[in-house]
């Protein structure tokens, strides 16, 4: 069949393209130009595209498939980067990869694939798509150390039906690199991409401060009674639940302190002792269901951070969201995703409200 492969220029999506081509499909490669690479790395004169797009093009040439670079800069700026910064400005900790998958990739690029007469679109994500009864299901991958299902919870049923994730059954990354080598792809040994793609080497706070200057600047660290304990250097540097960047306050009164709340309007970081910090109940917004949830609630495991064990909970659907009741208290951070699982299957998810 004619299938569009979203090619990032990395090993994973390159192997996807090569595999599908080998299987005899008519493969079309597409690479999204998401931001001006030259600006992102602050090197004037650097090509707008950067290394990754050129790598994707080279792989496509090698595979002898058509390849297109799609300018999604404007859409990426407005739907991903701006809301990333807005979220920090509200005192949240956003997950830009979810917004990008949801909008730029699985809405815009996918609709382009349909326009081009493709029967499916494939990506290099590590998740499994399982043919369920009538409709496709989204599952954690074979290699749990690469699991990206948490980042894909917002995939709608229609999108899921159209998508393919050929790497979901790969046992590990080495096997993927091995395949890349067998296909003779020059990028077989390319390092994994890390962190947030549009933020050069882990300086996300400075990106946020550039986009939303009001988040820039010092503020107070206070305890729950409002007592000032110290100063911080910008709210974007903190996430609910963290104990880093608290300096001496970290172990005040002999008890481990963590960030309990971020008040964007007063630019205050509110800390409290770790053992008292947990919550049982919280709300979700922008809920995406991949099942028909029972109004009596859904018994499942929820995962409230990208890298964390899942926790047993009841989730109750609401008109525009859901209410989560955990068995044991935890520290949900506003803006992060809360993804619902039953075994390996993703049932849905939403964003944690403050």
């Amino acid at each position: 069949m004619r299938i569009l492969v979203a090619m990032s220029g990395g090993v994973d999506s390159s192997v996807v393209a090569a595999t599908l081509k080998q299987e005899g499909h008519e493969v079309i490669g597409a690479t999204l130009q998401l931001y001006d690479h030259g600006q992102a790395v602050s090197k004037p004169g650097a090509c707008c595209a950067g290394r990754d797009i050129l790598d994707a093009r080279a792989v496509a040439d090698r595979l002898d498939i058509p390849h297109y670079v799609i300018d999604a800069e404007e859409r990426f700026r407005s739907s991903v980067m701006a809301s990333f910064a807005d979220s920090y400005a509200r005192g949240e900790t956003p997950v830009p990869c979810v917004a990008c998958n949801q909008g730029v990739k699985f809405t815009d690029l996918l609709s382009m694939a349909r326009d081009l007469g493709c029967e499916a679109m494939a990506t290099g994500h590590y998740v499994r798509r399982v043919e369920g009864e009538g409709r496709a299901e989204l599952h954690r991958p074979a290699d749990l150390s690469r699991d990206q299902s948490w980042f894909l919870f917002a995939t709608t049923q229609d999108q899921l039906d159209y998508l393919r994730f050929p790497l979901g059954d790969m046992p590990n990354k080495d096997a993927v690199r091995q395949k890349a080598q067998e296909f003779g792809l020059a990028i077989a040994a390319k390092p994994d991409s890390q962190d947030i793609c549009f933020v050069p080497s882990g300086t996300y706070a400075s990106v946020v401060e550039k986009l939303r200057p009001e988040t820039n600047g010092a503020g107070e660290i206070v305890d729950e009674t409002g007592r000032i304990l110290g100063q911080h250097e910008g709210i974007a540097r903190y996430t609910v639940g963290q104990s880093k960047r608290l300096g001496d306050i970290h172990t005040k009164d002999g008890r481990r302190q963590i960030v309990k709340r971020i008040d964007a309007s007063t630019r205050r970081i509110i800390v409290g002792p770790k053992e008292s910090a947990g919550r049982i109940e919280f709300a979700l917004r922008d809920m995406n269901w991949l099942i028909e949830p029972s109004s009596d609630g859904v018994r499942c495991h929820v995962q409230i951070r990208a890298r964390e064990v899942s926790r047993e909970a009841w989730v109750y659907p609401l008109a525009d969201g859901a209410r989560v009741v955990l068995d044991e208290p935890a520290m949900p951070a506003p803006g992060q995703a809360c993804v619902l699982y039953q075994g390996s299957r993703v049932l849905g998810g939403g964003f944690i409200l403050s």
Partner: protein, 305 residues
């Protein structure tokens, strides 16, 4: 005449040689080869039909300081011609120098009685591959004898006006291509172009500028409102036809066209593709293209309807 590596270099040389100590007035739809070679330029707007606004040019020329005017003979994205005779007259009247980027017309409309002759022309840039020559040769044609300050020194080639060994095979092929272009039946190519225009119009497309304004015989710019140019390009490419959108960077990323924006097109600027026919186009190839275009418009048009 100074032989160069192509149109970009010829334009850059003209601006380097004649633009020093002068105000640079360039048309809003000039090619990047001119825009980028003159960072401190003043822009002369174009009319909605894509032709240079003579009133604005005159107003700019009336202001103080000697000027070099850079105007393209024909636009690379739309094929629309500038009124060069009138531009030349204004330049003479105000004592300004005039450089014409003729890359798009050379080998297309220099033929026969349409020989480009503008009195008082300072220089004119051409490139061989546009007429089917080997890539790698162009020339800056000078209106008058005299020394031209080189960009590339040393070597002393081209009478000291451009250092570096000239690419003789490419230059010979440029000459051959221009020679053959003089014998080409451009009205035949124009009629094939018109066939594409008429089909596009019947599919709900618009022609950038106006069908009746003076244009190159082989170029047209088709707007299919509501359908991104990128998608059109991909669909036609998959069907075996290479068209272009705006100007593409080395990665193939397409950026918004400054040409169409200068003509006042806003959202539609992102929905335009350029179709240009080579000298050896055949009728059956045009029929094939027209079929692919109709398929595409039908398929994508449904979505927006």
């Amino acid at each position: 005449m100074v032989f160069t590596s192509g149109g970009t270099e010829a334009n850059a040389l003209a601006i380097h040689a004649f633009g020093q100590e002068r105000r640079l007035l360039i048309g809003a739809t000039e090619h990047d080869a001119v825009r980028m070679a003159s960072p401190d330029h003043e822009i002369v707007p174009v009319l909605p039909d894509g032709s240079l606004c003579l009133q604005a040019l005159e107003a700019a020329l009336q202001r103080e300081g000697g000027a070099l005017v850079c105007a393209m003979a024909a636009n690379n994205e739309t094929g629309i011609l500038h009124p060069l005779e009138a531009i030349g007259t204004l330049c003479r009247q105000y004592g300004a120098l005039l450089h014409v980027d003729a890359v798009q017309v050379a080998g297309r409309q220099l033929a026969g009685d349409k020989r480009l002759s503008v009195a008082g022309l300072t220089s004119l840039a051409v490139s061989g591959h546009k007429a089917g020559g080997i890539k790698g040769a162009g020339a800056l044609i000078l209106g008058a004898e005299g020394h031209v300050s080189p960009m590339l020194r040393g070597g002393g080639q081209e009478r000291g006006r451009r250092g570096g060994t000239p690419a003789l095979p490419a230059i010979v092929s440029m000459a051959a291509a221009f020679g053959l272009a003089m014998e080409q039946d451009w009205s035949l190519i124009a009629s094939l172009r018109d066939q594409i225009d008429m089909t596009a119009l019947s599919c709900g497309a618009r022609i950038t500028g106006d069908r009746k304004c003076p244009r190159l015989p082989n170029t047209t710019s088709l707007i299919l409102p509501g359908i991104s140019a990128q998608t059109q390009l991909m669909m036609l490419d998959l069907a075996g036809y290479a068209v272009s959108t705006g100007s593409a960077c080395s990665s193939g990323k397409v950026s918004a066209s400054h040409v169409l924006q200068a003509m006042g097109l806003e959202d539609d600027a992102a929905c335009a593709i350029r179709v240009s026919l080579p000298w050896n186009i055949t009728e059956s190839q045009v029929e094939g293209f027209v079929g692919a275009y109709v398929d595409m418009a039908r398929r994508l048009g449904k979505k927006t309807a």
